[in-house]
């Protein structure tokens, strides 16, 4: 039944980039998608695999500040550049970013699996557009699928994070 038998170890080429502010050297062949290099080789698993074909946005990271679908971005494209993941967008000492705080006040997540990607897309949107309209939100967020259907809460959280809406308190919820 077994065709190959021995577990073999091969060394791949090294990939070098800045991951959440720290320089990393990862043992990954150049074609390997950034997603898998970061999850399996660098050991940061906050970024999720959803579809593998840049259709769902679960794997969204920032490459030099721009959102990319890391499942379809070869690690070679990150060479020497800055990669930011969900683990890298909060402040020091575990402080939450404004976007993350809004995600809490609006109680956005259900299963939570897509939310890393949602937050990375929203963070990029708000950096470039501090007061997005509904159309702006649609355009920036329609690449991120949420199967639990939290879209209306994501929209509200983006407006809270951008100061267009007041955050809800637990009593108001």
């Amino acid at each position: 039944m077994l065709i190959a038998t021995e577990k073999k170890q091969e060394r791949d080429a090294l990939a070098n980039f800045i991951l959440n502010g720290e320089s990393v050297n990862i043992d990954a062949e150049p074609e390997m998608p950034l997603l898998w290099a970061v999850r399996e080789k660098a050991g940061l698993v906050g970024t999720k695999f959803g579809c593998g074909i840049a259709q769902c946005g679960a794997c969204t990271m920032h490459l030099d500040g721009q959102p990319v679908r890391s499942c379809s971005t070869p690690v070679s494209m990150a060479e020497g550049r800055e990669v930011t993941t969900i683990e890298g967008i909060g402040g020091v000492d575990g402080m939450m970013s404004a976007v993350q705080q809004a995600w809490i006040s609006e109680q956005v997540p259900q299963c939570g699996y897509c939310q890393s990607g949602q937050i990375m897309s929203a963070t990029a949107l708000l950096r470039d557009n501090p007061s997005p309209s509904d159309d702006d939100i649609d355009a920036a967020m329609k690449g991120n699928i949420c199967r639990c259907g939290t879209y209306t809460r994501i929209r509200r959280a983006i407006k809270v994070a951008s100061g267009q809406l007041e955050p809800r308190s637990e009593e108001e919820a």
Binding site: A4, I53, A58, C111, M141, C148
Partner: protein, 750 residues
Amino acid sequence: MNDLTPGEKERSKLAKWSRRGFIGAGVLAGGGLLIGIGVRPGNPIGKLAPKVAGGAGEQLVNSWVKIDTNNIITAIVPHCEMGQGAHSVLAQMLADELDADWDKVRVQQAPTDGSYVVTDTARMFVAPFTMNAADWIEPTWNGLFTQVARMADAMLTGGSSSIRTTGQHSMRIAGAAARGMLVGAAADEWGVPAGEITTENSTLFHKASGKSASYAEFATAAADQPMDQTPALKTPDQYKLMGKSKARTDIPAKINGTAEFGIDAVPEGLDLSYAAIVRPPVPGTSVVSMDSARAKSMKGVLQILNMETFVAVVADSYWQAQQAANTIGIEWSKSASPIKTMDDQYAAFAAALDEAGETGGEEAAKKGDAQSTLGSAAKTIKAEYKAPYLAHSPMEPINCTAHVADGKCDIWASTQVPLMARSGVAETLGFDAENVTVHHPYLGGAFGRRLGVDEMTLAARVAQATGYPVKVIWSREEDTQKALYRCADMARMRAGLDGDGKLVAFDHVFTQRHDPAEACVPAIYNIANTSVRHAPADLHLPFQAWRSVDHSQQGFFIESFIDEAAHEAGADPLEYRMEMLKGSPRHVAVLKKVREISDWGGETPKGHAKGVAMVESFGTIVAEVIEVDMTSGKPKLVNAWAVCDAGYVMNPDGFRNQIEGGIVFGLTAAMYGELELVDGAIKQSNFHDYKMLRMDETPNIEVAIINSGDVPVGGAGEPGLPPAAPAFANAIYAATGKRLRTLPIAKQFA
């Protein structure tokens, strides 16, 4: 408040958690109290331990609360957290009865152990909706159902059941009983009557003497107190946490990347390899031959396994494994199924319906004489409806990590049924269940897909073959095309209207009946003559319960056809339903409220129209109004309003989030959901052709709650879904006069 489920910081802790370590003494290491619900009166928890381990007269413990010396209270929750918020709400219910300080309450996922069968959930599946709360906690019944649950390995999460079964009948009792034991211990120590002791914020008070103490101070002594098996529970006016929108405890970890899902498992000390799999494109077929020459030579590839019913490629990374798997040429055996296309499938349904005719098939419900009333009715209408196969498509792809060594197997998986996974894996490997350990972190969505154990048994076989730990990840394509599905179905309905247009006879025949059994019956309406018949027909694709199960297609069939009857009668569809709800005040109130919040009958912009539908499912009544904009010639969803009566909602914001999700899930299926067959294999493969509703396509959603009280608490996860598709289709009819009797909708306006 912190959540102690696995992802937060110490991944390995749960794996090491041992039930015996706690139960053995009833007192926690370093002092503290552990309480479970013993169903045998007079059995303090410490003495239950040997019985739980097995033996004559065995009774089980089905949920737990522990109190440590720092006054931290931990609810040990037997249900999984898949996005429905059950971990938080179950803790909320326990903490309320315990008068606990919510800021010092934590949640812990119960380990995969026979002691954590969810007795009440199992009972609901056996005898649904027939018993009130008092019956539920009757000890004999509990014991019996515990046995049933244990036999069925029922540690499951599904059926919108966690709050209304485990919450209502285990967590609350555990909390109230714990409070009673703490009060008893303080009364003994202080020498005062227990009735004079009050509790608040995890503190005991005796007003007359001015004494007070934290729960922690009496936790150890409380363990020696007798446990009240039927403690008095709070009434809604006494609730402090129940009924409040407490923030969910799992959310902080889900927004900073630290929440651990099954796919994230990196077991400590294990050098993981990764596998991609190729399963048969047509169900029931197997590998005849394969050409893996190219795959074998690819970088990182460790092993290629021909397991007959699937092929696995094991590599240093998942990506390498998947790349190699994509190059393998496999010849599959011929399928015995005569069904090659959806036309074939629908022809098989039609044949079964033809055979049943106007009176045949298995009787599902009967009231009055529908057949003769149809014969004499002033007007009759009939229609044939169809619903396609659907995939569950949780965002977390199906995966399982397995390690088989020294006669033992460890499994890490996102699953709704950890105990069934344990037995399934044990059976597959020929092991005793005791030698299989199932670790189950958060689920990245489930919707019924994770009620199966296919990915666990498959991964166990791979890990047994390799001898080293392997994480098996299914590509999105594998899960879309080769998994388990919401069934397709076809229904024929007839309605008889009297001279006033009143619906006096209803006949309904369909081919698929799974759960809940009552989903096919329009029982909420007062129709004098009803006949509901099931004409079974074979499915080409394997069935798996899909969010709201039979209600997902039956809601569309029945509520669309009721709409047809209303239009045939020349009546307003909402008022037509209202007329049929006389004598059902809860339903009337729900429909009135949705009429109000949706401004039903009010002005709408040109090209816009509203549709209504109402379904009671999983104990909750939900009416929805959907507003569509047809000005472009294609349907655009504008607004959705839902009104729900679940009796009493434990966490309103969490409940609303579930209903919002159910609506989006239902509208997604209605707009796009469809799996087609090509030569017996599924055509759609990933999100580009199996589309999901996205941010820009999702309507505004408003959810209102009615707490009618004094009825068994209803569910949240599923009931929002069934009215969504018919309300959407009914809105399109209102806008265009085009009646949609098949789904999905978008392609009918392409």
